[in-house]
Symmetry: C2
Subunit: 311 residues, 2 copies
């Protein structure tokens, strides 16, 4: 089996730039397109650490590529911006199989092209464990404010695009069945391994009058509490609108876990959530309401929960 | 001793945003300033891996912060652009001392403010070894081409800003004396631990008509060979202009290493090198000439050398 140590840094760069090509790659730094007038550049970064965030017996290298892009592009979308480019810092031991690098590059390219974006550069460095760090660059057009965490207002609807709790259910199933999850639960496992981010939902929310957005990365309640605290508002979720699906209930029975736990504290779904005074934007659904106060409630009551913490 | 595990991700973020403050930090992603008309965004990323690129008994956390910014900003300057912002992905074990994070943030802030830039965001993730990945964002104003690796032209001067070979000499001294390097060699050690990048030299080179630039990161000859290959030119260095300094000769005697080896293959000086038909730009000196062909020579002869490779 050929390894990163065999082909070296330049060999790995050749593979990545072949499988995730960009005419902007290959100089000291990548020069992006001319910025449209009155636009702002948006930037965010996130690491995936092998073993902590993904297991190679569960996730394919392609899955990891998809997920690394999604978790970063979700943050760009959550500002109301359009992802335009990404760079990757890959830290990996010399024993890393070349097939891992190929799969990773393929996954990145498959995901990034959904957004008409490009992998424009990167760095490959020897390390003891595999860490994939993506930095995403977005473009925020026009003079309207970005969708800031502190800009939710009482009287607004809370709207969401994407599933809630599926990623956590998928992880619980993988853990419970030690990877051999029954086929019926494939959509949940898929949601964990390769969460889906619908391109342009952040731009659409901003264009239709939303003022605040975030993505469900650390857990629904934790992420909404951030909005509540930063905006000085309360958020009341509609229990029916966020209730576990039938498939999640079945997964709950199979694993002995209350599926509401996945809804409340799962995270990693990268559900885009926004607040707006206006009609529910295309691709979103109404899941709650913003009011005065500083609490996050479900049907007016405080739910018990915890969220993801790194340490 | 307090550790990252004690204070958690949010505690660490509080420290970093206090010591390296930016009003742009703290949302899902950072929204940068309005782009000037006809400007392009420039992006690059680089990791420093503890143990491979730095040793904590030699480098202070502040040094690491400085170096992480310099190695990225040098790539932005090498396009002729102005560094405006950076994000940091910090991978670190829970046992990492809080004092490390404080020093790192201080070093980043001290260096980044020399460029009137800001640390605008980041990510902190648990890992087994400490890895500091910086992604730098620059702004390339005006419609002139960036300083591309393929744009050197026969008849141009090769000009350089910054020391050549000092970083490698410093590293050799640290290795030879196991960290206890005699005081007389402090400038060389300092050049390794905290390489100096003069702000704005890339912009000045571009503004005064340079067409191509790179920084000495992998080794003088390796980096110039990249230009020679990509531009389809030869480069002949003037031996007197790149000759080891008296201090480097003394370090050579102390360590038993030919100081020309540091000049040729040292790297990590982040010397900015550009090619221009015009007068030597302010802050640069004339170190060689671009001609027809495809070789890199010194005084017309081929030197023996190797460069830095990651694997």
């Amino acid at each position: 089996m050929k390894t990163l140590g065999d082909i070296g840094e330049h060999g790995a760069i050749d593979i990545i730039t072949r499988l995730a090509p960009s005419a902007l790659n290959g100089d000291d730094a990548a020069v992006l397109y001319n910025s449209p007038p009155n636009s702002r550049t948006v930037v965010t970064t996130d690491s995936l650490v092998l073993g902590r965030h993904f297991r190679l017996d569960w996730s394919s290298p392609e899955d990891i590529g998809h997920k690394a892009i999604v978790q970063n592009f979700a943050d760009i979308e959550a500002m109301g911006a359009r992802p335009v480019a990404a760079v990757m810092a890959l830290n990996a031991p010399p024993s890393t199989p070349v097939s891992f690098i190929e799969g990773l590059a393929r996954g990145i390219h498959d995901e990034i092209k959904e957004f008409a974006a490009e992998l424009v550069g990167g760095d490959i460095t020897a390390s003891d464990e595999i860490i994939v760090t993506i930095t995403a660059i977005g473009s925020l057009g026009g003079s309207a404010a970005p969708l800031n965490l502190n800009a939710a207002k009482p009287g607004q609807k809370l709207v969401a695009s994407g599933v809630i709790g599926h990623s956590a259910a998928g992880l619980a199933l993988l853990q419970h069945f030690e990877g051999n999850v029954p086929e019926e639960f494939a959509p949940l496992v898929h949601a964990h391994l390769r969460p889906r981010l619908q391109p342009s939902r952040g731009m659409i929310a901003r264009a239709t009058g939303a003022t605040c957005a975030t993505d469900n990365s650390d857990g629904l309640l934790v992420d909404l509490e951030t909005i509540a605290t930063r905006s000085g508002v309360s958020i009341n979720l509609n229990a029916d609108a966020i209730a576990p699906t039938d498939l999640m209930h079945a997964a709950g029975e199979a694993t002995g876990i209350d599926p509401w736990q996945w809804v409340y504290s799962g995270g990693e779904d990268h559900t885009l959530m926004a607040t707006t005074h206006h009609d529910v934007p295309s691709g979103f659904r109404h899941i709650g309401d913003v009011g005065r106060g500083n609490t996050v409630t479900v049907g007016g009551k405080t739910p018990a929960h915890t969220g993801w913490v790194s340490f």
